[in-house]
Each structure stands twice: as structure tokens, then as C-alpha cells.
Symmetry: C2
Subunit: 205 residues, 2 copies
């Protein structure tokens, strides 16, 4: 009935909180949601498709995108660049699809700066104890590394104030239900749609 643009949703939170698991379960359920495809300079692996798994670019191309402010966020891991292309996101939103971005807290803050109209969801650990268990459970990290990660997690949680919503990840199904509710209710926000509804009314008078 109304010609609605998509919304960019950003899921973030401290490392170890379970962002990836929640995102995968969400995508099992909501197929009309588009996952934001990243740009990377790392080598294309067998089976990976350009424009589906990643947009593959050279270092020079990537650095030129940074200079032109064509990335909503970017970071360098192990000498490779990773970033979120503004153009792909904006094109997909204009087509009426919601775009979903699952990202580390630092990257989310860059997106907030470059695309403040996004909807920012913070995934919160059920407890610090639980977060610690998950960080420890990942492998054979040393006690120092674990303490560092916990300190980082605490700092990341302090950044919660920049987010629109906080969802506690005590249970993946419940967390995904809440995120689906946030997606649906954001589409009912008066400031997004009132102008179009009023226009319908005027057209009918």
C-alpha cells in the first residue's frame, strides 16, 4: 500500500556475546532481510563468489573507497581490509529491502557516524560470568588474554548508550524474537510513515 524504503539494522555487542549465532538464526527465519555484503582485499577462496560472499577489491581500490568516504565502516585484520560499502547498502534500502549488519562494536560506532538513521541493536550478555565462560570456552587462551578480553567487553558495554535497543542474549530464540519485533515495529514508527499515509488520504479526498 505504501512505498516504503528499507531500514538498516545494525547488530553489535561485545565479543563472545553470540552475535553470529543470533544473526544466523534470524536469517533462517526472515528470508526477505538482506545481509550486508562486505568488501575485502583478502584473496578470494575456492567456492567464494564475488558479489555474494564478498566484493573482492585490490588494496588500491579499497584505499580509494576510504578516501571517497564510500564505506560505512572499515577495519584491517591480519593485513587485509574489510569494509561495508555505502552504495550497496543504499541501493538495497532504496529497493525496499531491510539490510542487516552484524558487526563489532568499533565498526558499529563508525556506521553510527556515517549512517545515523540506522537502527542500532546492542546484544547484551546474560551475565559477565556467562560472557567469561564463553570467552574461556573458545580455546586455550591464557589468563592474561582472558582478563584483557573481559576488560574490553566491559568497555564495549559502556558504549551501549549509542544504541537504540538492548537485547539480552540469554536464549537465542528469545533474542531473535525480540529482534524480529524491533524490525517490525520500526516499520510502524510514525515519523517513517505518517507523511505517506497523509498523502494517501489527500489523494482520496
Amino acid at each position: 500500500m505504501i512505498d516504503e524504503k528499507g531500514i538498516l539494522f545494525i547488530l553489535s555487542g561485545p565479543s563472545g556475546v553470540g552475535k553470529g549465532t543470533v544473526r544466523k538464526e534470524l536469517f533462517k527465519r526472515k528470508t526477505e532481510l538482506k545481509y550486508s555484503i562486505s568488501i575485502t582485499t583478502r584473496e578470494q577462496r575456492p567456492g567464494e563468489v564475488d558479489g555474494i560472499d564478498y566484493f573482492f577489491k585490490t588494496n588500491e581500490e579499497f584505499e580509494s573507497l576510504i578516501k571517497q568516504n564510500k564505506l560505512l565502516e572499515h577495519a584491517k585484520f591480519v593485513n587485509n581490509y574489510y569494509g561495508t560499502p555505502r552504495e550497496y547498502v543504499e541501493k538495497t534500502l532504496a529497493e525496499g529491502y531491510d539490510v542487516f549488519l552484524e558487526i563489532e562494536v568499533q565498526g558499529a560506532m563508525q556506521v553510527k557516524h556515517n549512517f545515523p538513521e540506522g537502527v542500532f541493536i546492542f546484544l547484551f550478555p546474560p551475565s559477565l560470568e556467562e560472557l567469561k565462560n564463553r570467552i574461556v570456552g573458545r580455546g586455550t587462551e591464557t589468563e592474561d588474554l582472558i582478563l584483557n578480553r573481559l576488560k574490553e567487553a566491559r568497555n564495549e558495554i559502556e558504549m551501549m548508550d549509542a544504541y537504540d535497543y538492548v537485547v539480552v542474549n540469554d536464549d537465542v530464540d528469545k533474542a531473535v524474537n525480540k529482534i524480529q519485533s524491533i524490525i517490525q515495529s520500526e516499520h510502524c514508527k510514525r515519523e517513517r510513515i505518517a507523511a505517506q499515509y497523509k498523502k494517501i488520504l489527500e489523494d482520496e479526498l
Copy 2:
């Protein structure tokens, strides 16, 4: 996990839009939601229970409540007063229950003034044509009365700007789904819960 207060939700919209039907279907599904009990000066009918169907008051008692600003809204129909008691709403919210109020647009504007922290949902007709059909379908109103009601409906729709959400009532099930999403996502709003989550974190440090 966190000690959360309830939220007051107000459903309103032009007459004939189907507020009552949507509210009834919502209450069939969400039993933990509390319906706001009105105060009235009209006579108690057989089978009606004071404090369940209505709070029954005398004219003097009601007018004293108005003077003391103890009503979130009130109106007079056919010489009887009807109103929403602030005390009952606040007590129920403090107990952690959400309170749901289905009300005419004029009343909703009074609630907005007296309780701006409420969440205001505007139920929108699928089309003016449809709204007209519903108003006509109600009975044997004259053409003049119908035109008046439509004009009133248009004016009421102009008041949409005071609301937080707009839900189109093209289908009762879909409208109720959206309202349930709004209720759930409002409980995830960062400004409602971040302070408490941070406190949990500090307690665990």
C-alpha cells in the same frame, strides 16, 4: 533478571477504524497485559462488578477527581462521566504490568498531555473508502451524518503526528501482530533499560 516497570500503551484512531475489534483480539492473545479500568458515574448494571468492569463513582466523587487531576483523561457521554484513573494505571505499571488503553482520539490527546511517557499507537484505516463503508455499515445514518463523521475522521487522522506508531488495520491479525511487536520492542528500548543493565555489570565487577 531486571526489575522493569510496565509501559502504558494507548491505542486510538478515528471512529469506525476497528479499535475495539483489534483490542479484543490482542487481549485474547496477551493475557499478561492489563486493560485499563475506567471510572464512570453511570449506574451499575446487573452483573457488573465494581473494580472489574468499572470503578463506579458518584458525580461529586468524579468531579473531585477531575479537580485533583487524578484522571489521565475524561469525557461526558449522555450525562454520564467516563475517565481513566491515574492511580490505578500507575499502581499497575509499578507492579511491572503493561497497561493497555483503547480510546477515542480526543481522550488520547488528554492522556498524551497527562502521561507523555505512554506509547501512542494510531490505528489507520486501510482507505477512506473502507472507513466510509464501515461508518455507513453501522446502521441507518443519514447522508449528512455520514459526511460529518468522515470529516471528523479526516481531522482525527491529522492528529496522527502526536503518536509514536501508526498501524494500518487492513487485517485484524496483522494489526495485532504489529501491536505485539511494538509492545515487545518498546521493552528493548535502550533508554528504558540501559541503566539497569549497567548496574548489573557493576554489581558483578
